[in-house]
Amino acid sequence: MSLILDQIDITLNGQKLLDNICCCVDDGEVLSVLGPSGCGKSSLLNLICGTLPNSFGYSGQVILDGVVLNHLPPCKRQVGLQFQDHLLFPHMTVGENLAFALPAHYRKSQRRERAEQALADCGMSGFFELNPAMLSGGQKARISLMRTLLSEPKALLLDEPFSKLDATLRSSFRHFVFQQIQSRSIPALMVTHDEQDIPDKGLLLKL
C-alpha cells in the first residue's frame, strides 16, 4: 500500500513551485516535507488530496496502492487528512465525531462500539457524550487523528499537526501519531517547518 509521487511539478502563474518531485513512501513509513512558508508544501498536500485550486497547474502522477489518483475526486481517494486546527465538528459530540468517520457498512450498535474502542485506544474512555469544546488541545488532536484513522484511509497526510500544541503535548502527541501510523501500517506524508517533528526513521524531503 505504498504512496508514490512520480515526477510531480506544480506551477502557479507560470512559476514552478515544485519541480520533479519523485519518491515512494512505504507502509508504516513517514515522509517529512520540510520547507519555509510558500515553498509549495501545502500545494503538494492539496494535490494528493485532490483539492488543488484550478489556478495551480501540475504534471506527474500520484499513485496510491497501485491506483493513479490524479483524476479521482477527493472523496474517492481514501486519503486521510489531519489539520493543525483539528477541526472537530462542534455540532456533534466527541463520540459522534468519531462515528461520523466510520464506513457505512457498520451498523448502529457497531458504530458506537467502534467509537468507544477508538476512545479507549487514545486513553479517553468515557468521553463519548462530551462536547468537543470541552476538550483540551491535546485531547482534540488525538480525537481528530482517531477520526481520520477510523475512516480506514490507505494513506495519511498530516498538515503541520503539532504546530498548535505546546512543547509537552507536542512530544507525546508526536509519539502517538507515529505509533498509530506504524501499527496501522499505512504510508504517511507530513508537512512541517520544524525539524524537531521529523521522526528518527523515515524519509525527508527538503523544499
Binding site: T51, P73, C75, D85, L87, E96, F100, P103, Y106, S151
Partner: protein
C-alpha cells in the same frame, strides 16, 4: 483625584451610551408595539371612532362564519411554507454547488440587483412572461402553431403556484445573501477538504457538516421570509389567486370595504393572521428541534452520498432559470411600456411612446414622493444604524455585561417588525394615526417606512462593523488625537463601501413598501408602488409596464450611484495618497 474624575467620566459615558441605545431601540419599537396594542381593542369589538363602544366577540363570530375561511388560511399556509422551504433549499443548493468557484462570485454579483427589485415590479414582469398571452406562450406558439392564447390559468391560479414562484424568485437571493454573510464565519474550505478526505461527497458534507452550523445563523432570516410570505399583500394582489385569495388579501379587502363594520372583522382577522404567523414559526421551530434530535443517527450513519452531483446540478440549473425569469420579466416590462398594439401570437409588437406620454403627467408626483420618502428614510435609517452600532461597540470594548446583551437586544429588536405580519400592526398604527390626526403627511409615511428600512440597513451594516479591526481606530486616535477625525477618516473610510451598499439597500426597501405607504398616507401621498398596484384592477398592460419599469429602475439607479460613489471615492483616495507620497 484626577483618576477619580476620569473614572466617573468613563462611567457616565458608558451609562449615557447604554441609555441612548436603549432609548433608540424603544423609540423604534414603539410604533410596532403601539400598533399591535391598538389592534386588540377593535378585534374585540371596541372602536369608539366608528361608534362601537362595547366589547364583544361578534367580530370573531363573523370571522368564523366567513365563507371559505379555512380555504384562505390553508392557501396562506401552503404558499408561505412551500415558498420558504423551496427558497431555502434552492439557496442552500446554490451555495453548495457554487461556493469557492468563479460562479459563486457571479452569484454574489447578481444578489444585489435581484434583491433591489421591488416585489411588485417583479410580479408584473413575471406576469407578463407567464400569462396565457405572455412572452413564453408567444414563443411556444411559434413552434406549436397556436393562433389564440391557450386556455391555461398560469397566473392568479387557484393553487397559488405563480405566487409561490414570485416569492421564490424574491426570497432566494435574500436567503443567499444572509447565508453568504454567515458562511464566512465557518471554516468551509477546510471542512470540505476534511469531509472529502473522510470519503464524503460535497453535497453530503454541506448537508451533514456545514448546514447544521449555518442554519442557526440564518434562522431569524428564514422566519422573516416565512412571516412575509404569510402576510404579503401587494404581490398576492398582482399574481395571487383572485377567487378565495390568501387570508392577508382578504383582510386588506375588509379594511378597504366601504361598510365600516368590516373594520372590526379586519381587526379580528389581523389578530388571527398574527396567531397564524406565530403558530407557523412555532411549528417550524418545533420541527427543527425534533429533526435535530431524530436525525442524530442519520448524521453519523456513514453514508457518503450517491446522488450528490444530481442535487448540485439541479440547484445550478434552478438558479440559472430563476435569473433568466428575472431578466425576461424586466425585458417584458420594458417591451410592454412601449407597446401600442401586440396581437397574439405575434412576437413583435407595434411600438409607441403613447404609454409614456400618457403616464408621464401622473407619474411625476409619485416619483418625487418616492424619492423624497426613500432618501429621507434611508439617510435617517443609516444614521441611526451607525449610532447603534457605535454604541454597541463602545459597550463591547468596555468588556461589560452590556457588551453582550445590548448587541443581542438591538439585533433582536430589528427583527421584530420583520417577524410580525405587516397587516396586523400597520392596521393598528393606522387606527392610532387616525385618532391623532397624523395621517396623510409624507413625514408620517417616512416614519412607517423607517420601521422596515432601518432593520435592513442595520443588519447589512452589522457584519462589516463586527469584522472591523478596532486597532485601525486606535492607531488613528493615537495619530490624530481626535475621535471624530478618526471615525470619519479612518473607520468610515474603511467601511465606506458597506455604508454605500446599505444606503442603496435602504432606498430599495423604501421604494418597495406598499402597505406602510397606504396605511399612513390616507390616499394623499402616492408613491410609484401604490400607483402601480392600483393599476392591477384596470388591467392596462402598457401603463403597468411603465410603472413597473420605473419602480424597477429607481433602486437600480440607487445601486449604480452607490457603486460609482464608492468606486470614485476609493479611486480619489488612492490618487490623493499617491500625491501625498
Amino acid at each position: 483625584m484626577s483618576l477619580l474624575i476620569k473614572f466617573e467620566q468613563r462611567v457616565s459615558v458608558r451609562s449615557v451610551s447604554r441609555l441612548l441605545a436603549l432609548g433608540l431601540v424603544a423609540l423604534f419599537l414603539f410604533p410596532v408595539l403601539a400598533g399591535l396594542g391598538s389592534i386588540m381593542l377593535p378585534a374585540f369589538g371596541y372602536m369608539p371612532v366608528l361608534g362601537f363602544d362595547t366589547f364583544s366577540l361578534s367580530s370573531w363570530q363573523m370571522l368564523l362564519e366567513t365563507p371559505a375561511l379555512i380555504e384562505m388560511l390553508l392557501l396562506s399556509l401552503w404558499t408561505s411554507v412551500s415558498s420558504t422551504l423551496l427558497s431555502l433549499s434552492l439557496a442552500f443548493g446554490v451555495i453548495g454547488c457554487t461556493w469557492g468557484s468563479p460562479l459563486w462570485q457571479k452569484v454574489q454579483r447578481w444578489l444585489a440587483p435581484l434583491m433591489a427589485v421591488p416585489h411588485v415590479a417583479l410580479a408584473f414582469g413575471v406576469m407578463f412572461v407567464l400569462m396565457p398571452s405572455g412572452l413564453l406562450a408567444r414563443l411556444i406558439a411559434v413552434f406549436a402553431g397556436w393562433r389564440f392564447p391557450p386556455d391555461w390559468q398560469t397566473i392568479q391560479d387557484q393553487y397559488g403556484i405563480s405566487l409561490i414562484l414570485i416569492l421564490i424568485i424574491k426570497e432566494t437571493p435574500f436567503l443567499l445573501f444572509m447565508m453568504a454573510a454567515s458562511v464566512v464565519q465557518l471554516p468551509v474550505a477546510d471542512t470540505l477538504k476534511l469531509g472529502g478526505s473522510l470519503g464524503y461527497q460535497p453535497a453530503v458534507i454541506w448537508l451533514k457538516l456545514i448546514w447544521p452550523r449555518l442554519y442557526p445563523m440564518i434562522r431569524l432570516s428564514v422566519y422573516t421570509v416565512l412571516a412575509f410570505a404569510i402576510s404579503v399583500v401587494d404581490v398576492a394582489l398582482v399574481i395571487g389567486p383572485a377567487n378565495h385569495p390568501t387570508f392577508a388579501v382578504q383582510i386588506f379587502q375588509w379594511i378597504n370595504d366601504p361598510d365600516l363594520s368590516k373594520s372590526l372583522l379586519a381587526a379580528s382577522g389581523s389578530v388571527l393572521l398574527l396567531l397564524l404567523v406565530a403558530s407557523v414559526i412555532g411549528a417550524f421551530h418545533l420541527t427543527e428541534w425534533t429533526m435535530n434530535r431524530r436525525l442524530r443517527h442519520w448524521l453519523i450513519n456513514g453514508h457518503r452520498g450517491r446522488f450528490s452531483s444530481l442535487w448540485l446540478s439541479f440547484s445550478r440549473k434552478a438558479w440559472q432559470g430563476l435569473v433568466m425569469l428575472f431578466l425576461s420579466g424586466g425585458a417584458a416590462l420594458l417591451i410592454w411600456s412601449f407597446v401600442w398594439r401586440w396581437r397574439f401570437p405575434s412576437l413583435w409588437p407595434d411600438w409607441s411612446l403613447r404609454s409614456w406620454q400618457r403616464a408621464w403627467e401622473g407619474i411625476s408626483e409619485p416619483i418625487v414622493n418616492s424619492l423624497l420618502i426613500g432618501v429621507t428614510a434611508t439617510l435617517v435609517a443609516n444614521i441611526i444604524s451607525v449610532i447603534l452600532l457605535e454604541l454597541n461597540d463602545l459597550q463591547r470594548q468596555n468588556r461589560e455585561s452590556a457588551g453582550k446583551w445590548l448587541p443581542l437586544l438591538t439585533r433582536g429588536a430589528m427583527y421584530i417588525p420583520l417577524l410580525l405580519p405587516q397587516m396586523t400592526f400597520l392596521f393598528g398604527v393606522q387606527l392610532l394615526l387616525l385618532q391623532w390626526g397624523a395621517e396623510g403627511h409624507w413625514l408620517t409615511v417616512t416614519g412607517l417606512h423607517l420601521l422596515f428600512v432601518l432593520p435592513y440597513c442595520f443588519l447589512s451594516l452589522s457584519g462589516p462593523w463586527q469584522h472591523y479591526d478596532q486597532r485601525h481606530s486606535l492607531q488613528g486616535l493615537l495619530l490624530s488625537g481626535s475621535w471624530l477625525k478618526t471615525f470619519l477618516q479612518v473607520k468610515l473610510g474603511i467601511l465606506w463601501r458597506p455604508v454605500m451598499a446599505s444606503l442603496a439597500l435602504g432606498f430599495a426597501v423604501s421604494i418597495a413598501q406598499y402597505l406602510p405607504t397606504l396605511f399612513a398616507s390616507a390616499g394623499r401621498v402616492e408613491t410609484v408602488t401604490t400607483e402601480a398596484v392600483s393599476l392591477v384592477s384596470g388591467g392596462n398592460r402598457r401603463l403597468i409596464g411603465v410603472y413597473g419599469l420605473v419602480q424597477m429602475l429607481l433602486p437600480f439607479i440607487a445601486y449604480a450611484m452607490a457603486f460609482f460613489l464608492s468606486y470614485w471615492t476609493i479611486r480619489r483616495g488612492r490618487f490623493a495618497r499617491r500625491l501625498n507620497s
